[in-house]
Amino acid sequence: MTAGLRIGVITFPGTLDDVDAARAVRRAGGEPVALWHDDADLHGVDAVVVPGGFSYGDYLRAGAIAARSPVMGPVVEAGRAGMPVLGICNGFQILCEAGLLPGALVRNQGLRFVCREVGLRVEADTAWTSSFTVGQELRVPLKSGEGRYVADAATLDELEGEGRVVFRYSEPAPNGALRDIAGVSSADGRVVGLMPHPEHAIDDLTGPSTDGLGLFTSVLAQLATA
């Protein structure tokens, strides 16, 4: 059962989607645990969500300062040891800056912030996508100014070869992301980052679909059977 599972949701100064991420964890049947950027430990959580926003105002580079805040030490350590970690939007940028995920997110091709509902194709079976089938299409919001995924060709080839491209935009990437990549994972499939916002797609009333809930039910199911 997933009831007793605790998922940490980090709040940095400037984090915006922490309430949404916590709501998604709760709707999926887990217990959200608020983690503060200044915390030096993870309070015994079973998984961590690094939510979206503009941590530290995106100063220097999006995610760069947050990646070096106290709470990220134990997150990186736990992530390398196999704890499921999900980075959404700014959280994805933070995980890249922290070295948990390869590549980087740079300014959108059109140089403007884009808020749009996008189609997202699930491309890999990971800790955060196990309740989907590969090839399944999700409808979730994308909202970012620096969402263009880039990496050198060798890295991209390696990611594709190892099945670590987790999500691809099913239409041409609105931000110009290389190979239409919307999300990638660590080699063990436990750490996932994506630019679109599954936590905003958990209720037809407020989002384009309920597709996003699947990421949270996936990880809870994984943890429950572990």
Binding site: D20, C115, R116, T206, G207
Partner: protein
């Protein structure tokens, strides 16, 4: 170095500072009565300066002069508008006030929305800064209104923006509009505030004077209401948030209170030549929001005031005026981001992201601890004193010693002359009737397409796609829906609907009727969701109050809006006046923007904007008359503005809103869309495009035997398109008959085109593509 706030042309700075002249404290001012002062350069008239001398019994110090000049500016003192704005207070009845927890005069009005919840909302202009520097001007406009909402003790939950710029193809529009949109988006997105709607309007009158009006909605529990007052002798005054710098000095007195051709915005009276436009840091504001909410939650705040226009001058004098004592402030304690700032500069700086709180001495440590947790700079800069003076010291000397109300409230009041413009009769006589109306299926379809792709009606997605509408997960409806809908209470589903509207073309033809039509449209938009309209905020954008014709427009618009609010039982809870919106001697179209707040007991029952499912019936509620003067059709097709605006019938608007609320509460309606710009044709197009479905429509010519083009393009008010399941049609008809609501069945939802009787078929995909292409083609 000089202590004057007026530029002394001494740049570049000498390597060693020149000897300081004597600090202009109150003793020095008293001893040097004849010293000339730069009151005119600061925007004060001779008689205003004389009055300050009379109040103080001496000449003001330079710091006092700076305070009075910003606080007595048009922007802060409402000196030209006050006599007219009083009408709102005088006409508001006890019954209208029943839901108000705070009204005009507070930072923002607060409305009881039930179950112990309250909502505060307010709209404000940031027009002139947004012309000088579109991105920062618009960004700080959002920042300012958000702080007003925070100052009431509320959590800001949504923003809206009303934007008016020159023609889409005018050269400067390509600079102003993208800059403004990126500024609104940058600030709101970074704050985590969903943008739920607004307006984008193109008109030549805004080419040299764009309008940027920003609205913020905040939510609080009744018991969390905070007001701006400083009381309790010995209580501490804490300044917290960003440091105080040289930016935005003179913003309100120079930028917001003068016409551009008289005050060169690049030559603002700051000796350090920093821009009069402030620079925003939304990250600092986001942290400040969370910090404030934690302070409120812990009960650590007695009174609070945001620092916006006029900075510390405004915050200290208003807090002290609203309290029961005096106040002592030490400017040496103010954290600065520039060296050698004079008292006058510190007092008039409009550095953003600052708040001022009144805190009991025993709570100061706890207050500081919360600020430290959020890395927010906080400093005790003074305290509440007994007595009735606001005393401010700088470098050990008393530089301000004034009765606070004389700064904050007792500014000049002008009875500006006003007169109906000479050209008004000719304008109203020049109706659009002399222009041809299309006839025949092809000609009408062609004009529908022309309108759909016109800048006036084209899709605003290029704008709204730059705004986050998902954050916090409580927005159930946002642009292009008629109203933005935000859930207030997740457990009960209780929420609010908000819309902002104005039709400046109608206002030009008849400002009194135009203001009421704006109110009617905003009410209708809110009602289209099924919400019950309960309160009004307004942003009154006009030309120079020194022009009697403009003053007449202003007086008429206020009279119209006040009477309209009485007729609909809606209180005006607060708002903002922006004058001097003109280029040379040419004023903008009179633009009173009206925001309406409505309550939804359960947002899950809100009516969706657009058409219902295949096979549902399409009904038109309300009456269509031959009313094309001032319409979008007249403007787009014939480049014509003249005649009289559509008839105002507020009883009909109220009846329509009541029918909508009842039908929505009982789940009778599967879709709705209000009729406004572009009339029935555009309403059908927008509903079809929003839903991705067509409809088969028969046009009733009505009792007046109107031709199809008139039925399609008329902008008669008090009308709404609704869709209803076939089985519910009889019930809808029964309710309308019972309420005396005119209603007619037009057809049913279905197919992939709009098939309007007497008009060539209009495929929905083609309509969408037409509307979507216009803004990107001009702006990308």
């Amino acid at each position: 170095m000089t202590v004057s706030p007026v530029p002394a042309p001494v740049d570049p700075a000498p390597p060693t500072a020149p000897p300081l002249p004597p600090l202009d404290d109150v003793d020095h001012a008293a001893a040097t009565p004849d010293q000339s002062q730069p009151h005119a350069a600061l925007g004060l008239r001779e008689e205003e300066y004389a009055r300050i001398r009379e109040i103080l019994g001496r000449r003001p110090t330079e710091a006092e002069l700076a305070m009075y000049s910003v606080m007595w500016s048009e922007h802060c003192s409402y000196k030209s508008s006050k006599v007219h704005l009083r009408r709102f207070g005088e006409t508001t009845t006890e019954a209208m006030r029943a839901r108000l927890l705070a009204g005009i005069g507070e930072n923002a009005g607060v409305v009881d929305v039930g179950d112990g919840w309250a909502v505060t909302f307010k709209i404000e202009s940031h027009n002139h800064p947004s012309y000088v520097e579109p991105h920062q001007g618009a960004a700080t406009g959002v920042g300012g209104i958000v702080r007003d909402i925070m100052a009431m003790g509320a959590r800001p939950v949504a923003v809206m923006d009303g934007l008016r710029v020159g023609p889409l193809d005018a050269p400067d529009t390509g600079r102003v509009l993208p800059g403004v949109v990126s500024g609104v988006g940058f600030y709101g997105n970074c704050l985590g505030l969903p943008n739920i709607g607004g307006e984008v309007v193109f008109d030549p009158s805004y080419a040299g004077n764009p309008l940027v009006n920003a609205l913020c909605v905040g939510v609080l529990r009744h018991e969390d209401l905070h007001l701006a007052f400083a009381s309790g002798t010995g209580n501490k005054i804490v300044l917290f948030g960003a440091r105080t710098g040289l930016d935005g000095i003179g913003g309100v007195s120079v930028l917001a209170s003068e016409t551009f051709d008289r005050a060169d915005p690049t030559q603002a009276p700051s000796r350090k030549k920093l821009p009069s436009v402030q620079v925003g840091d939304p990250f600092a504001e986001k942290v400040l929001i969370e910090c404030c909410l934690e302070l409120f939650g812990a009960g650590l705040v007695v009174g609070i005031q945001d620092l916006g226009g006029a900075g510390l001058s405004c915050a200290t004098s208003e807090l002290a005026s609203a309290g029961d004592g005096g106040m002592q402030i030490d400017l040496d304690a103010v954290p600065l981001r520039a060296e050698n700032m004079t008292a006058a500069e510190i007092l008039s700086s409009e550095s953003q992201e600052r708040m001022c709180a009144v805190v009991t001495p025993e709570n100061v440590d706890a207050f500081m601890a919360v600020c430290r947790r959020w890395d927010v700079t906080a400093t005790v800069i003074g305290e509440v004193t007994d007595g009735d003076r606001l005393r401010i010291t700088h470098q050990g000397a008393t530089v301000v010693d004034v009765p606070p109300p004389t700064v904050a409230h007792d500014g000049p009041v002008y009875q500006r002359p006003y007169a109906r413009p000479d050209d008004q009769d000719a304008l109203q006589a020049d109706t659009v009737a002399r222009h041809p109306r299309p006839s025949g299926p092809a000609a009408i379809a062609e004009q529908v397409r022309t309108l759909v792709g016109s800048p006036a009606l084209a899709s605003r997605t290029w704008v709204t796609e730059q705004y986050d509408r998902f954050v916090r997960g409580n927005v159930t409806s946002a642009a292009p829906a008629d109203a933005g809908v935000v859930r207030v209470d997740e457990s009960s589903g209780r929420g609010v609907a908000v819309s902002i509207d104005a039709n400046a073309r109608f206002c030009r033809l008849d400002p009194r009727a135009g203001a009421q039509l704006a109110l009617a449209e905003a009410v209708r938009n809110v009602a289209s969701s099924g919400a019950v309209p309960v309160a009004v905020t307004d942003c009154l954008n006009f030309g120079s109050p020194e022009d009697p014709g403009v003053m007449w427009q202003f007086a008429e618009a206020i009279a119209g809006l006040a009477d309209g609010c009485v007729a609909m039982g809606l209180p005006v809870t607060g708002g903002n006046v922006s004058f001097y919106n003109q280029t040379g001697n040419t004023a903008i179209l009179p633009t009173p923007v009206v925001g309406v707040l409505g309550i939804l007991e359960d947002v899950t029952r809100a009516v969706r904007s657009g058409l219902g499912p295949e096979g549902h019936a399409v009904w038109l509620l309300g009456e269509t008359r031959d009313e094309l003067d001032g319409s979008t059709w007249a403007g787009v097709v014939h480049d014509h503005l003249g005649g009289l605006p559509p008839r105002v019938d507020l009883a009909a608007e109220a009846r329509l809103a009541a029918v909508m609320a009842d039908a929505a509460a009982d789940g009778l309606l599967s879709g709705a869309h209000d009729l406004s710009d572009g009339g029935l044709a555009q309403a059908l197009v927008e509903a079809a495009v929003a839903t991705g479905r067509g409809a088969r429509i028969a046009l009733a010519s009505g009792p007046d035997g109107l031709d199809p083009a008139t039925v399609l393009f008329s902008e008669s008010a008090a009308r709404m398109l609704v869709t209803v399941a076939p089985g519910d049609e009889a019930e809808l008809a029964r309710r309308c008959a019972e309420a005396g609501q005119p209603a007619a069945r037009l057809g049913e939802v279905g197919g992939d085109a709009l098939r309007i009787e007497g008009v060539d078929p209009l495929p929905v995909d083609e309509l969408r593509a037409l509307g979507d292409a216009t803004l990107p083609a001009a702006l990308d």
